[in-house]
Amino acid sequence: MKHIKMIKKGSLKQTANKGCGECQTSCQSACKTSCTVGNQKCKQAQ
């Protein structure tokens, strides 16, 4: 494609059948105040 370059192919829609609840639940790992989920790891992927 000439005008748009894909840097990262999104897969959020493909995760809709997951939701096992095994990953970290809260902000406890580092920040302790601001909830950030986008940098967490998926336990199924590990």
Partner: protein, 475 residues
């Protein structure tokens, strides 16, 4: 089909599906995030103009664009529209995701699988911004007994259903003031792992005052993660983090915290965790200072404070704060290049675009009050550490379990499916709807996120995406 009708049809098509992108410029890049798929693109100037937040611009806007920019041709526009259509057909642009209509806790379960154990409601520092009433959470200065801690372990095993991974966070006050209990609780949890079918993961947060060679070795071996509290530059740290005698704590704690960090570098997780306030809005200098001192894993957070306290971050500070994140991001990209830019990991720029959590995790956001609870030294249960001591949020206790299910339910309902302000926000899948405690402290409404924190989060995520792209290009 003529050119005009082609563009108009596409415009209608994407609007009917109600999709959302976020486009922004950062560090010389024009970047597009497709919110519902998580796809990330860089685009040229023309494409940037054509992509609207909820759909392609309309034909009138295209004609205006062609008139204003002689360098663009109709052929280039059509070429761009075809590329947009192709990506849209593949669910990579203007993507719809039906998952956002389901309460995530219906999917991921409603078990309790993480506890914040307040093993010490006492502290050996007197930090001015402490949300915990300088350690006692506005109550008695108490230590958790090993028996109460073990009871908490039994509670989470029973309440966690089929969940295997259990998180235990030793917190305070200062948990090292009760290290013997920490060790007993740890040993008990490990002793029942096999029979309970659970896997425990431990984190300990400390201010570093009591760290020594002996307990450092034990902590390094047994804690999966450590959070080490230090705000940055000596004068910044000492303005807020004071000893019991009112003196600065930097020289008491810094070397011991650094030793702890060095033990874990490259082997086990840790974060040196600072707080910035209205007193040190130039916090990027503190992050860089910590990196230059040798810390490789850094999280520096905006303070959670009440309006009028004197050190809160105000709405009018936001432009300055955002500029700090931008400057830090530019500096961050130079890390590892020379001794002035040592390599380090900054928590908020560390987006997991390659394999982050599923959409249900992102919809549910923080599990506080739902699958994460805080336990006081007396065995009382609260939604999280930030709510401890507030009687309106007392959920129950270890003996009787949850006796206030309505409050717990209100936390489960505080998710992206229900938060009106979040539904149209592009950053929602990165923040998960924000911190419940912030929402309550500033708006007295769990469903209404704290606007100032949202603004900062949007800025951090934009920078995180920009850094990801730059690093991908370098690789």
């Amino acid at each position: 089909m003529n050119e005009r009708s082609s563009a108009s049809c596409f415009f209608l098509h994407v609007f009917e599906r109600g999709k959302m992108i976020h486009k922004f410029e950062k560090n010389g890049l024009k970047i597009v995030l497709d919110v519902e798929s998580g796809s990330v693109f860089t685009v040229d100037d023309l494409m940037y103009e054509l992509l609207g937040e909820e759909g392609v611009v309309d034909e009138k806007q295209i004609e205006d664009l062609l008139e204003k920019h002689q360098e663009y041709t109709r052929e280039m526009v059509d070429e761009s529209l075809e590329e947009i259509q192709a990506l849209t057909d593949e669910d990579l642009l203007y993507t719809e995701n039906d998952a956002s209509k389901t309460n995530p806790f219906d999917t991921r379960g409603r078990d309790v699988k993480a506890l914040c154990l307040h093993v010490s409601h006492d502290c050996n520092l007197r930090c001015e911004y402490c949300f915990a009433g300088q350690g006692d959470f506005h109550g008695q200065r108490l230590l958790m007994t090993p028996e109460t801690g073990k009871k908490a372990i039994d509670f989470v095993v029973k309440q966690s259903g089929n969940r295997r991974n259990i998180e235990i966070d030793f917190f305070g006050g200062e948990p090292l003031m009760n290290l013997d209990a920490v060790k007993e609780i740890y040993a008990y949890a490990k002793s029942i792992e096999e029979e309970s079918g659970k896997e425990f993961h431990f984190t300990l947060t400390t201010n570093g005052v009591l760290l020594n060679d002996q307990n450092r070795a034990w902590l390094d071996e047994h804690m999966d993660n450590m959070v080490l509290s230090l705000d940055g530059r000596e004068e910044v740290n000492d303005r807020m983090r004071k000893t019991v005698n009112g003196k600065g704590s930097y020289r008491v704690i810094k070397d011991d915290i650094l030793k702890m960090a060095k033990m874990r570098d490259g082997k086990k997780d840790y974060y040196v965790r600072g707080t910035f306030t209205g007193n040190n809005l130039d916090f990027s200098e503190d992050v860089k200072f910590l990196a230059n001192e040798g810390f490789r894993s850094i999280s520096v957070e905006p303070v959670v404070a009440q309006d009028g306290c004197g050190y809160e971050i105000k709405e009018e500070d936001l432009d300055f704060v955002k500029d700090q994140y931008d400057k830090l991001a530019i500096d961050y990209l130079k890390r590892g290049s020379d001794e002035n830019h040592p390599d380090f990991n900054f928590f908020h720029f560390n987006l997991n675009l390659d394999g982050g959590p599923c959409v249900y995790k992102r919809l549910s956001g923080c599990g506080a009050g739902a699958d994460y609870l805080a336990v006081t030294p007396e065995g009382e249960l609260y939604p999280c550490h930030q709510f401890v001591g507030n009687p309106d949020f007392l959920l129950g206790n270890l003996d009787e379990g949850i006796v206030n299910p309505e409050v717990r339910e209100s936390f489960k309902e505080a998710n992206l499916v229900n938060k009106v302000d979040c539904s149209s926000c592009w950053v929602k899948y990165f923040c998960g709807g924000g911190c419940h405690a912030n929402a309550w402290n500033f708006n007295h409404d769990l469903q209404k996120p704290y606007h100032t924190a949202c603004e900062m989060e949007r800025c951090r995520v934009e920078n995180g995406i920009m850094i990801y792209i730059k690093e991908s290009e370098e690789a």
